[in-house]
């Protein structure tokens, strides 16, 4: 594969597009005091974004004409969630999740 100038520019452009939205809030918030309602809104973001990311992975949007659950992932998700609830441990949940996923893929 050859690297052309336009490709390098494309990569630089992509880097900027992902970098700017990450740093601008950090710079902006320093000079502006956010109103309470915005802070309240922001307080809901972590739970929302994490549940959205989980949902994104549970849904299968490609293989059928309608959106359905990605069954192997869902079957793994349920015990993983239970393990997370019991252990409240990030590392145990990740290791257990990977093992269960491998087992589910082996069976299904």
């Amino acid at each position: 594969m050859t690297t052309t100038a336009s490709m390098v520019w494309l990569i630089i452009g992509c880097a900027l597009v992902t970098w700017l939205p990450r740093i601008i809030p950090f710079m902006f918030v320093r000079s502006v005091k956010l109103p309470d309602v915005v802070l309240k809104w922001l307080s809901f973001i972590p739970v929302c974004i994490l549940s959205a990311l989980v949902m994104e992975n549970l849904l299968d949007t490609e293989s059928k004409s309608y959106v359905t659950l990605d069954w192997p992932v869902f079957v793994t998700f349920v015990p993983t969630l239970i393990i997370a609830l019991i252990t409240k441990s990030l590392s145990i949940t990740v290791v257990a999740g990977v093992i269960i996923m491998a087992a589910v893929r082996f069976i299904m």
Binding site: W19, P21, R22, I23, I24, P25, F26, M27, F28, V29, R30, L34, V37, L39, K40, W41, L42, F44, I45, P46, V47, C48, I49, L50, S51, A52, L53, V54, M55, E56, N57, L59, T61, Y66, V67, V73, T76, F77, T80, L81, A84, L85, K88, S89, L90, T93, V94, A96, G97, V98, I99, I100, M101, A102, A103, V104, R105, F106
Partner: protein, 147 residues
């Protein structure tokens, strides 16, 4: 994500804040907001440590993957793709467990909204856009329905 974390770092210099933003990823965001909910405060050094550790391991894992990849022809078979999902599940649980008892019902209802909205949006927009839109919509519902 940056906007959610940024208010906790206003006491640091502009340069440090640019650093926090530059190295922030989905994963370090998840870990940082969980820490913030449990302890109520975030320190710049801790954040730098988290970000730099994450990036170092990212780079090291990529290098390791390049060398070891030939022996793992099909990583999905070993469930490795689920590691990230499991991490999001665990972070979500940790977030919820630090929410006070009288608010937990409100959060669970919001997650219910999230499921419906994510499902609906998945028909009309690509999944990464669905994540952003659903988050904005449900956080707004959260503010409106909060007592």
């Amino acid at each position: 994500m940056s906007l959610t974390l940024a208010p906790h770092f206003t006491r640091y210099s502009m340069l440090r804040n640019v650093g926090f933003g530059t190295l922030l990823t989905d994963e370090t965001f998840g870990v940082a907001v969980t820490k913030q909910m449990q302890r109520g405060k975030l320190h710049g050094r801790w954040m730098d440590g988290l970000n730099i550790t994450a990036y170092l391991f990212w780079i090291l894992s990529c290098v390791a993957g390049a060398f070891l990849g030939q022996w793992v022809a099909n990583p999905e078979k070993w469930g490795l793709d689920f590691a990230l999902i499991a991490m999001f599940v665990a972070l979500l649980v940790l977030q919820l467990s630090s929410v006070s008892k009288n608010k937990i019902m409100h959060y669970l209802i919001l997650i219910g909204y999230m499921m419906v909205i994510m499902y609906g949006l998945s028909y009309v927009v690509p999944s990464h856009l669905a994540v952003l839109l659903a988050t904005v919509i449900v956080a707004t519902i959260g503010v409106v329905t909060d007592k």
